[in-house]
Amino acid sequence: MTHVLAHPLAGQVLALASPGAMGTGEKVAFWVLGIIALGCAIAMVAARNAMHSALFLVVTMFCLGIFYIIQAGPFIGMAQIIVYTGAIMMLFLFVLMLVGRDVSDSLIETLRGQRTAGILVGLGLAGLLGGGIARALGSIDAKGLEQANATHGGNVPGLAALMFTRYVFAFEVTSALLITAAVGAMILAHVQRNGEKKTQKEQSRERFAEGNHPAPKAGPGVFAHSNSVATPAILPDGTRSARSISPLVEPRELTAEDTRPKDTLTGGGNQ
């Protein structure tokens, strides 16, 4: 949370530090988008529905992208908008849709007072960082990117120069990260099917094969004293049907108390 919050803060401090370098248009854009970005960042954390959170995050990241462009970093700005806002967040929305958009976070606090404490500590940290950065940058004249962009004849060539000279190794090693991510996604998501899937015809034949009951299985608890999923159904001949309960559920012997006729018409109870 502080991470998202601190961007506009830092930007604000920078902007205040060098008022001469900031045109009216930039100021207007900053204040309008800054408020939107901050508001959406807070709303992202506060929203109960994961879908809303994701959409708020899209708006925040879009605003940040425009900030980058305003601050003479068009490449990173466009990358933010196209790659993060456009591609990654849309993928994220797809995943949320697949998981089910009705799934919202459980709001039960397992530790009492955790949320309040979290908000207080978060605000404290944000205040500490914001105050510290404001003090530290108060005396600094922001240079902007003009000179750095001019060295290699533009913003993108300048980035390329850095990426392929000083940071070439870090850039190359990122490939290890991408391979790991791809392998990890495979491991965690891919299930190998053993053998061919049965066709409907084969399933139907199996159902009517010799020695198989074609009728639906008896439900758990049918004709039994209890309708618990752990109670096997009693077939007309008095035997218990193992087919009626899930193999994952342990069949349970009923106690005398369980099997006692319960007078449900008069309200039940002990007498």
Partner: protein
């Protein structure tokens, strides 16, 4: 577009020989991924074990070669000053690999648990029929080997990174495979998946702090190179505040990986939930890597500002030692006990680091290796005590093991004595080294707390020993599996090194001493 553009970019010189160990590991990890894609299922396990061990042995041989060809004495920077090839870097890389080889032996074991300690298909819903079926019949998946190679390669890069950006990429390269490997336990899969999600979320959070710190330090020094930050700390006209915010954020990211209090909360859950061989890898290799990064940042970038931050990190060291020891006393699960003990041990290494002089470096390096071998053997033994649900990790289940399995109980007792710091074990020599370095560096308070916490920490260790020998075994006591060749080798190496470094520490201490010079 500028037509002369291509001319004014010159690729920096990359000394491929000097960074060969890292390239071997990462390259062989890619070979492992390809093997996974193209080999038939039956061939994958032997090929992956071979690729994994060959990569690590070749990497280790290259490191020894580099150390002998005087890179340790005449350190160099390469790849545009992004990587440092110096004594501590080579020592730590070697330590990561030596411990990694032993951990790989544990990971590759397939006879203790039939089919290995890892799930066959992690995507199958835990607890379903298909899951029970695959737990019974199918062997472990083999992607674990390339993943562990990526993790080890990332750790080696992490300890030799010379700027913050490279260090951050390396941090992610070694973290991401670890998050994945945590989720792959064959038994108690929900616990394992919970551990992975916890580790992943908190790890991502700590990485965010790390990046934030990088931004602050870049704002302060105008560069992310350690040397430039060190220069800016002396000569920059900017407010120091920016530097200290940056340092604090960096420290959060690093101390999280090293499991120091108050950034330790993930450790017991993750150590308990992860498959035990992966826990062994994390407790030994990750600790080496995290402290490698901490050493380099503190000793290269922030050496001159140490008077300002040393008290703060000192408080963290004390908290880590004391809280780790106190919480270890209350544990009833052997894996959680070892997790809290690893937290306390992070505090001991931090004590050595804070000596802020040459023997601080060498003693920390020495301690990391001694602790790594002991903890590998300890977790290796934990994999052997089993009942029908897998590993029996609850302490009460260990009652009376001394009668059922005298050899196992004997080795475990020896390792516990080493953790407790009894003489003639490497635990004693390691603690002696870090505490005497800290005394030499004027950190008497830290040493007092360190000694007190080791006394406290001896209690849970000795309680396990008492439990094993002086209590009657329960009727349904767990059996002790006969270790396969790979686990036996890992246990033997761990125990022998623990003994060797206890009676003859100078064999490694001399190497660490001659390596303890960072290049800036």
């Amino acid at each position: 577009m500028n037509p002369v553009l291509a001319a004014d970019i010159t690729l920096p010189h990359i000394n491929y020989g000097a960074i060969a160990p890292i390239l071997i590991l990462l390259g062989m990890a890619c070979v492992g991924v390809l093997a996974e894609a193209f080999l038939p299922r039956t061939l994958r396990y032997p090929v992956q074990v071979l690729v994994s061990l060959v990569a690590q042995v070749a990497g280790l041989a290259t490191i020894i070669g580099l150390a002998l060809s005087n890179y340790a004495k005449k350190p160099t920077l390469t790849a545009g000053d992004a990587l440092a090839v110096d004594g501590p870097g080579l020592f730590l890389q070697g330590a990561v690999l030596v411990l990694g080889i032993v951990a790989t032996l544990l990971i590759a074991e397939r006879s203790v648990e039939r089919g290995g300690a890892f799930v066959a298909q992690a995507a199958v819903t835990a607890g379903s029929e298909a899951d029970a079926e695959q737990a019974r019949r199918q062997p472990s998946q083999t992607e674990i080997f390339p993943l562990s190679l990526f993790a080890l390669g990332g750790m080696m890069l992490f300890v030799s990174a010379n700027d913050l950006l490279t260090m951050f990429v390396a941090l992610e390269v070694f973290s991401l495979p670890l998050y994945l490997m945590c989720a792959l336990a064959r038994r108690r899969r929900l616990l394992s998946q919970e551990a992975a999600v916890k580790y992943f979320l908190l790890g991502a959070f700590s990485s965010a702090f790390f990046v934030y710190g990088i931004a602050m330090l870049y704002g302060f020094a105008g560069s992310v190179k350690f040397h430039d930050i060190a220069v800016a700390a002396i000569s920059s006209g900017k407010s120091d505040l920016l530097m200290f915010i940056g340092l604090a954020m960096l420290a959060i990211g690093l101390l999280f990986k090293a499991a120091a209090v108050p950034f330790h909360v993930w450790t017991p859950d993750v150590y308990q939930g992860a498959p035990t061989p992966v826990t062994a890898l994390m407790a030994s290799c990750t600790k080496v890597a995290a402290f490698g990064g901490i050493l380099r940042i503190f000793y290269v970038a922030f050496l001159d500002s140490r008077w300002d931050w040393r008290p703060v990190i000192g408080v963290i060291a004390v908290l880590t030692m004391v809280i780790g020891a106190i919480l270890a006393v209350t544990q009833t699960d052997i894996k959680r006990l070892l997790a809290y003990s690893s937290i306390a041990n992070a505090g001991y290494v931090l004590t050595g680091v804070l000596a802020m002089q040459k023997d601080g470096i060498s003693s920390s390096l020495f301690y990391l290796v001694t602790y790594g071998f002991t903890v590998l053997a300890a977790f290796g033994l934990v994999t052997l005590v089993r009942d029908q649900d897998g590993e029996a990790t609850h302490l009460s289940r260990w009652a009376g093991l001394g009668r059922k399995a005298p050899v196992l109980a004997g080795v475990f007792t020896f390792l516990m004595l080493s953790f407790a710091g009894i003489p003639l074990t490497s635990g004693f020599t390691g603690k002696f080294a870090v505490f005497s370095a800290a005394l030499g560096g004027g950190q008497t308070t830290l040493v007092i707390f360190g000694v007190l916490s080791s006394v406290l920490l001896a209690f849970p260790y000795l309680r396990v020993v008492v439990l094993m020998y002086l209590q009657e075994p329960a009727a349904d006591a767990p059996t002790v599996a006969v270790p396969g060749a790979l686990t036996s080798a890992a246990l033997a190496i761990g125990a022998i090194v623990t003994l060797l470094l206890g009676v003859w520490p100078s064999v490694l201490l001399d190497v660490a001493n001659s390596a303890a010079q960072f290049v800036g």
